[in-house]
Amino acid sequence: MNTNYHIKSYCSIKNNQVSLNGSVVYKDEEESFSSFIKAAYKDQNTKYPKFFKMDKLSKLAFLAADVLLKNENLSSEEENNIAIVFSNKASSLDTDRKHQESIQNKESYFPSPAVFVYTLPNICIGEISIKYKLYSENSFFIFENFNATHLLTYSNSLLSSNKADQVLCGWVEFDGEDNYEAFLYLVSAEGTITNSKQDIIKLYNT
């Protein structure tokens, strides 16, 4: 298997802060997650009204991907063959709970279609794919903890078998307003950081 792949860029969102390649691009210490993610999105000036309809996991994943991919100056004319491999621990639990609450009481049984459509974690991959017109391979894995080995093996496999030109991978976790974290990185033939377990863990922990 080719091990000459590199991490071209990376983005993290945690503790009310958005960072791209190690530099803070947005920070707001006062806000709740909902206020923070909205303000961070507006700061990006993306102009994509569907963002406001997304659940919190999708907003988190979408914003991290948007910050990262916007920086890549992707061609809007040609198809970008970027695979997506995401992972987390809580799956879509935050939205699952919200849906469950809406069907808890038989006397007031009004499940929301707009909530229900987000009761799967990989919907956030769909949101990113729609925005960036990606018709590529994608997977969402559930792990107890951040699993650098799996992301490394899977991204290398996709690239060496020519299933994708680049792979956007990482960890997107949302399990309550105080428990969220996104760490996405783009694996490619280009870049200066080796796509290795050590480097992935190092970036994840920064």
Partner: protein, 85 residues
């Protein structure tokens, strides 16, 4: 009827997360779908739930929604005639 139209616009913005819109942006005869407000199929399902939850109206045939949800005017007229709460 005017109060109902105002209420519908408020509900639309809140229930459908039309974040960048205000009541003043929605005219009574604006098309809600297509080239108007640009609502989608999930929004249509949300409107069906809203009719049931807020006004006690159960749509037995979802195809009815096409004419009912054409605009604020058509929604208000249908609700006035059929509401049970």
């Amino acid at each position: 009827m005017d109060a109902l139209k105002q209420e519908l616009k408020e509900n639309l913005i809140e229930q459908l997360n039309l974040e960048d819109m205000t009541i003043a942006d929605i005219a009574d005869d604006d098309m809600l779908f297509g080239d108007g407000l640009g609502l989608d199929s999930i929004d249509a399902l949300e409107l069906i739930v809203m009719l049931d939850k807020s006004y006690g109206i159960k749509l037995t045939d979802p195809k009815e929604g096409r004419s009912i949800f054409e605009s604020i005017n058509t929604m208000a007229a249908y609700i006035t005639e059929n509401r049970s709460k």
